[in-house]
């Protein structure tokens, strides 16, 4: 049955460029996001090299601003989001027993837009770095606040706008694909409340993407017309208001941060039960908690802009709503811990990453709770404390969960077990360095070091030296992962993986052979 499809599959580069296979597209997404992770990391290395010592040594302040801006954009839109879309492509059909994604051709298109989008963005950085006299790359911060990006935006802002439009179209197509697949292509018996939590979190994430990516598209379109077509959405001279930009941006921006973390919750909810050899504690409450986080994300955006001047009632509303999010998030952390309670725990690498995620993400969550308190936020706003907060939730949160996912499913993808030694080195090296990198940022932030500056007052010098050491160390640590991946995916060296791979693993993806064949579930499995 499955065989007659095989001879249609193109080979060589055409296999990848013309691919409509969810596994191939998933792999493309994952490799692309890993490449962007390294590029974005390289920009972070420039930032930390400059901040290692007080004073200006490596780059000039304008180039520093270009680095912070493009680091943020590449990591958010190039590394984290496509990584989770890649994971969704690979795993959702396998988890719900579908033969492929619902819209395979659109799937191809939504991936291949991304290299174009990022060539445009990275191109503007290269032009700025290697073409003396060229206009700077986007230098207004990843949040591209007006008027920095409108009245004062460099010429490359138009590249940026086009690039964000393309990224948005790609994400929307990816999200539509996920929703349509999950809604229509589940195997018989796979009811909504039987779906693995990863599928649930991605379904909710996809709805968030559909709701807010068009708002981002609207924001950059307004920027474009403000810059070139005489409108004044954000220009006070023509009756507009730059503060409006912040409202529109964060109406997109806050759901966006949950877009980057909800799939991570799904990954961890898949891994912890496997290595605790117990079913997930409180499955239904996990689903409802995810949905409530998603709904609340639409009514908290202004906590990013407490200091712009807001009426007291507004500040109170956004403060309480933000604090409320910690309730469903707390439910999740509780459930993960309760899943482990009295389980037969073993600590293979995916479990180690998942545990690191639970602990470090909780630290990031707690600093988020501190930031939600309006009067305290007036002190923390735009300081390194904020930088520490969102790197704890995004690096040791979202990205650690990606690492966990890669170690967990790599044997299924490649057919061989990962290299345990270099995997362990990668884990411990990353775990120590990530804390050396981000923990002291809390201290310098509370002591008053502002973010987004290329220099700082002398009293912050020692901490910044250590932070930079942590950054270089964390950056180099990722090369161990590169080696682990090359060894498993290309050299195919390593212990042969069984179909089940992990002793306690549950779910349809473990019923197919390792490596997963090109076509799976041509005949739908029966879910009891």
């Amino acid at each position: 049955m499955a065989d007659h499809h095989e001879h249609h599959a193109p080979t060589g580069w055409r296999r990848w460029l013309l691919s409509t296979n969810h596994k191939d597209i998933g792999s493309l997404y994952l490799w692309f996001s890993f490449a962007m992770f390294l590029v974005g990391g390289l920009l972070a290395m420039v930032i930390r090299a400059e901040l290692m010592y007080p004073g200006m040594q490596v780059v000039d302040p304008d180039f520093f601003n270009q680095m912070t801006t493009t680091h943020g954009l590449i990591m958010v839109f190039g590394a984290v989001m496509p990584a989770f879309v890649g994971l969704a492509n690979w795993m959702i059909p396998l988890m719900i027993g579908a033969p492929d994604m619902a819209l395979p051709r659109m799937n191809n298109w939504s991936f291949w837009i991304l290299p174009a989008a990022f060539s445009i963005l990275i191109g503007s950085v290269l032009m700025s770095a290697f073409g003396p006299g060229n206009p700077p790359a986007p230098n207004f911060g990843w949040t591209f606040y007006a008027p920095l990006s409108t009245t004062y935006g460099p010429a490359s802002t138009d590249f940026f706008i086009l690039s964000v439009h393309l990224m948005g179209i790609s994400s929307i197509m990816g999200a539509i694909n996920v929703i349509v697949t999950v809604m229509n292509m589940r195997a018989p018996g796979m009811t909504m409340m039987k779906m693995p939590l990863f599928v649930w979190t991605w379904l909710i994430t996809a709805f968030l993407l559909i709701a807010v990516m068009p708002v981002l598209a609207g924001a950059v379109t307004m920027m474009l017309t403000d810059r070139h077509f005489g409108t004044s959405f954000f220009d006070a001279a023509g009756g507009g208001d730059p503060v409006l930009f912040q409202h529109i941006f964060w109406f997109f921006g806050h759901p966006e941060v949950y877009i980057m973390i909800l799939p991570a919750f799904g990954v961890v909810s898949a891994i912890i039960p496997t290595f605790a050899r117990k079913p997930l504690f409180g499955y239904a409450s996990m689903v409802y908690a995810t949905a409530s986080i998603a709904l609340l994300s639409f009514v908290v955006w202004a906590h990013h802009m407490f200091t712009v001047g807001m009426p007291l009632a507004g500040m109170l509303f956004f403060m309480y709503m933000t604090m409320l999010i910690s309730v469903p998030t707390g439910v999740k952390v509780f459930n993960w811990v309760a899943t482990m309670w009295r389980g037969s725990l073993t600590f293979e690498l995916p479990m180690k990453w998942a545990l690191a995620f639970v602990i470090l993400f909780t630290i990031g969550g707690l600093s988020g709770l501190m930031l939600s308190i309006t009067p305290a936020d007036f002190q923390y706003h735009d300081s390194y404390f904020v930088v520490a907060h969102f790197h704890y939730v995004l690096v040791s949160g979202a990205i650690f969960s990606m690492f966990a996912a890669v170690y967990y499913w790599l044997p299924k993808w490649s057919g061989v077990m990962y290299d345990k030694f270099w995997g362990e080195v990668h884990f411990w090296s990353s775990l120590i360095s990530v804390n050396l990198l981000f923990f002291p940022m809390h201290f310098v932030g509370l002591a008053g070091m502002p973010r987004r500056y290329s220099d700082y007052a002398l009293q912050f010098a020692d901490y910044n030296w250590w932070i930079s050491i942590g950054a270089f160390w964390f950056g180099i640590s990722q090369l161990f992962l590169l080696w682990v991946l090359i060894k498993a995916c290309f050299l195919k060296k390593g212990e042969k993986a069984t179909d089940e791979v992990w002793e306690g693993a549950e779910g349809l993806e473990w019923t197919v052979p390792s490596p997963a064949p090109f076509h799976t579930f041509d005949t739908p499995p029966v879910v009891k």
Partner: protein, 192 residues
Amino acid sequence: MADEPLKRRTRLSVAKLLVVCVCMFGFAYALVPLYDVICEALGINGRTNSVAIVDVPEDMTKDEDRTVLVQFVTRAAKDMPWDFEPMERSVRVHPGEIKAVNFRVRNRTGEDMVGQAIPSLVPGQAASHFKKTQCFCFDQQPLMANGEEVMPMIFYLDPAIPKSVNTITLSYTLYDITERTSVGGVAARQTR
């Protein structure tokens, strides 16, 4: 086969989701007037009235017991070659008292230009109680080359202004809108 209904369901789902996308794109634009309406209605964001108040309440009485210090801050935006300053830096007024103040502008260039002043007021909770019956900011300000003008602003404070407010700062930023107002303004902006 069972494929036909699946195809139909897929199409239907895609169509629905695309409609949501288009609506959300529209929603981003809807936020623009919504923002203005909400700010205006709640008197937040330092917005003062942008159209002259014509019906000053007849029975408005001057509150002799208290005064509020109203300070004026003026600023010409970047690349706006006009001098712009208040003739009095601050005035003390009783709530309910109608007060006139003047601002002076001078075009330092040898070209005819058009300016537009944009007000903003702090503290925010006083904004809806600050009523302008006449203001140069309601209109555009054309000024001949090297021209000079005195621009009036008449206002009163609503007697219901909260007791906690004893100082109000009204800030005006003056923008160059010559190109926006002239014919082919957009083209001029493009070629600059």
